[in-house]
Symmetry: C2
Subunit: 209 residues, 2 copies
DNA sequence: CACCAAACCGGACCTTGGTCCGCTTGATAG
DNA sequence: CTATCAAGCGGACCAAGGTCCGGTTTGGTG
């Protein structure tokens, strides 16, 4: 029952006018630079517009919201991570047993969080999290793995709740306020997954492409 | 190893001036009324101030932020729930085995969410969630139960991640966007807990829907 | 090239959460 | 009762995300 699915690649609308494309690039570069220079939370949308020499209207026309801009800046890394999940090496990619893949997935997300919390926090702002394309991919990925490992469980629900444990807001709280070291978070994730799904005894069934 | 602890009761500062107390009441009443009438998300802080015949400065002086105001409006129900947890009847209160109490706790939270999502959403807005007094109580409660049921686990970490599964934003997404019925969420929670911690004595295994 | 409609641009403008600060008032001391 | 002054008050003000719309650009068409 393994579904074939295309990951929602962000294809750069070919009918986009030249000036629009140029402005998109300008905005993305300016945003990335400013975010690195001053920290995401210290950069306003006006700042970005000004740095990109573009009107505020243009900025919002292109990206719709601050969260979406953050996502756009992250999109390349996000794409790489998805690639590693879907076609990469085990244990992250296909080949390992579901439990191992789930654990590897969580470790990967935690690493990404550790490197780009601010950006991810901005990207998940408001209700933006659940509506985002990456979230849909992660959700599907986890659902399939859970279903494979434990056909009797409510995989969809468990996937959502497990993903909640990998949210940026929780991460920043655990890391900064509760001062839990990265390793503890990763070990904790592994423990969580380990208790939820059994280790696969033998044959890793299908390689989900 | 059950720790005695005082729940952080919100004691109404006795040194508060008469006019201050009167304004607090006015604000709380107005807020509650407006929230019910028009829905939390359709009520601005200016609206509340105006309805309470109070300056905006006063409003913020008393409650500090929108999230804090929402929490204040919720505080009575919150207090009742805490009371039920700490001194109430089993399985929510003491007396039942940890697993049963954890399941009952989740069901209770889900019921509260179902009744007051908007308010809880506002209360958890921003990073306000993890800093709130109720969160600290829930966290402690779950940590103690987990530790009791499974001394070898990282109870603190697991408590945080399990609480993430009971967040208002996730709930509203699952209920409204994913259209999962309440019963499914409760059953899912029970399944999650059931897989994480063993049953105390004789055991009805999980009845996965 | 001349023309046109659609797409795009930019910045003025709106809303809203939150801050500031000069004025007012309640409680207490004398 | 009056003096005193910290606590409280209120509304002008600010920042920042997001919207609107009149003017401009682009790219295709005759």
């Amino acid at each position: 029952m393994d579904t074939v699915f295309e990951l929602p690649v962000i294809e750069p609308d070919p009918t986009e006018r030249a000036d629009a494309a140029r402005n998109r690039q300008r905005i993305l570069c300016a945003a990335q630079r400013l975010f690195e220079e001053r920290g995401v939370s210290c950069v306003s949308m006006d700042d970005v517009a000004r740095a990109a020499s573009v009107g505020k209207g243009t900025l919002f026309r292109r990206f719709g919201s601050r969260a979406a801009l953050a996502r756009a800046v992250l999109s390349e890394r996000e794409r790489q991570f998805q690639e590693a999940i879907i076609r990469g090496e085990p244990p992250l990619g296909p080949g390992a047993c579901p439990q191992e893949r789930l654990i590897a997935f969580g470790r990967g997300v935690i690493d990404m969080l550790d490197g780009h919390v601010e950006l991810l926090l901005a990207a998940e702002d408001g209700g933006a999290r659940f509506a985002s394309a990456p979230y849909a991919v992660y959700r599907l990925h986890m659902t399939l793995l859970l279903r494979e490992a434990e056909p009797a469980c409510d995989a969809e629900f468990l996937a959502e709740t497990l993903l909640a444990a990998l949210g940026a807001d929780l991460f920043v709280y655990l890391r900064d306020a509760r001062e839990m070291p990265l390793e503890r978070l990763k070990t904790g994730w592994a423990e969580l997954v380990g208790r939820l799904v059994p280790v696969a005894v033998a044959a890793p069934a299908i390689a989900a492409l």
